[in-house]
Amino acid sequence: MPELPGAGMSLPGTALIAAEHVCVRFGADEVLHDISLKVEPGEIVTILGPNGSGKSTLLRALLGIVPVAEGRLLRRAGLRIGYVPQRLTIDRTMPITVRRFLSLPTRVTDRAAADALARVGMAGQEAEQMTTLSGGQLQRVLLARALLGKPQLLMLDEPTSGLDQPGEAAFYRLIEEVRHQTGAAVLMISHDLHVVMAASDRVICLNGHICCEGTPRVVSTAPEYRALFGLGTQGALALYRHEHDHDHDDGHPHHHRPQHEHDHA
């Protein structure tokens, strides 16, 4: 693991990872402002926010990819993190099988690789070339690779962005299963409202800063959340319509996403 500022320092209580008053700046732009959060063992936490709200940046800061300008990050000593990026574009010039990919950067046994693939529903796909996988298959392989490190914390960056509705639901069921079987905590990002809500223990609403957080039920009724996602007075209807549209798996683009109108300063 890369050395993080403050990594290994005392963590509050039983938390696996925590951010304390973290600010991230790109040049003069403050992308993340005063972020404090922590993830406890075994819980599924979703970071929710519109495009450009700093969700990916927050995850990348927690991973140590993006430097923190202020505040500090705390990690339980020796914490094993499994990371599933938003997308992975493999150059077509690189020949690489699923099996070979699972052994990067740490080599794993054939048995372990087969087990991991079976767990994500990709049993027997070892010999497939990575570049020929569909979006859903690739996400599953990325998850299998993350699981091979026996993570205590899984970090997923919009893991379903390339999937259709049934694929998305199946993926979240898989995440819950994994949590159930391994006890790993999950911290994931989404810009989606409903499926994620159902799969999470706790939701953090982000728009440069943390607007609100709590259980899905509490957050979905919070005024900050409604303002952020523009649900307004017809929130329930918008949420319903959104779900309804997604149920038609006909490949049409969804134009009914609730407007991202909000006036957070």
Binding site: L88, P95, I96, F101, P105
Partner: protein, 260 residues
Amino acid sequence: MLDDFLVRAGLAAVGLSLATGPLGSFVIWRRMAYFGDATAHAAVLGVALALATDLPIGLGTLTVALAMAVTVAGLSARGWAMDTTLGVLAHSALAFGLVAVSFFPAVRTDLSSYLFGDILAVSRSELGLVWLGSLTVLGLLVWRWQKLLTATLSEDLAHAAGIDPNRERLVLVIALALVVAVALKIVGALLIAAMLIIPAAAARSFARTPESMAVTAIILGAVSGLGGLGLSLWQDTPTGPSIIVVAAALFAVTSVVRRI
């Protein structure tokens, strides 16, 4: 046996391909072809520098190639438009090198050996350096293999696994400079990049894993080297370009075979 200039030439070609096979694969995967060109062209400037300072030619080319590679890698990390930057640097390095070398009349007559290589004139000690340099590069790449591959696939995945992608990039840059210094005598500054890219590109057709591509590239590189040597003897053609001609022919054949 090493007394025979042909045996020495053949061994030099095989030794070089041990380094160019795997390194060339990375050059392809990371789209560094032009980067290789810039570094190789800088070697001519290194020749001039070595002559001016009475240093061994190999040391001069290694120094300048390394300086060029580090400069380009630094600029690229800072987000310069690489196509333009490399275009400027690659050709300027070559031009400056040619002008600088012209101040040394002894080299002037012998310029083509630096541009196109002179594998038939490889001495015992030069052969030793070729193998030493190539094995060093091969060892470096094997040692860092898992990390290099991870960083090449995705910098974020590398970061998350505690691998610094910048350090791995530096490893490749150093390896590239070493190969340039070693290959100058064999294929010459103008064709080093070809020796990196063409065998690896031909190997891509058969490979299913990164490792098989690198090993196939070594074999195709060695076959090109020996074949080019043969072609050169048979038709009395310049050896460096003959090696590349054979490599290109292999590439054409493998591309067609792949389609069928």
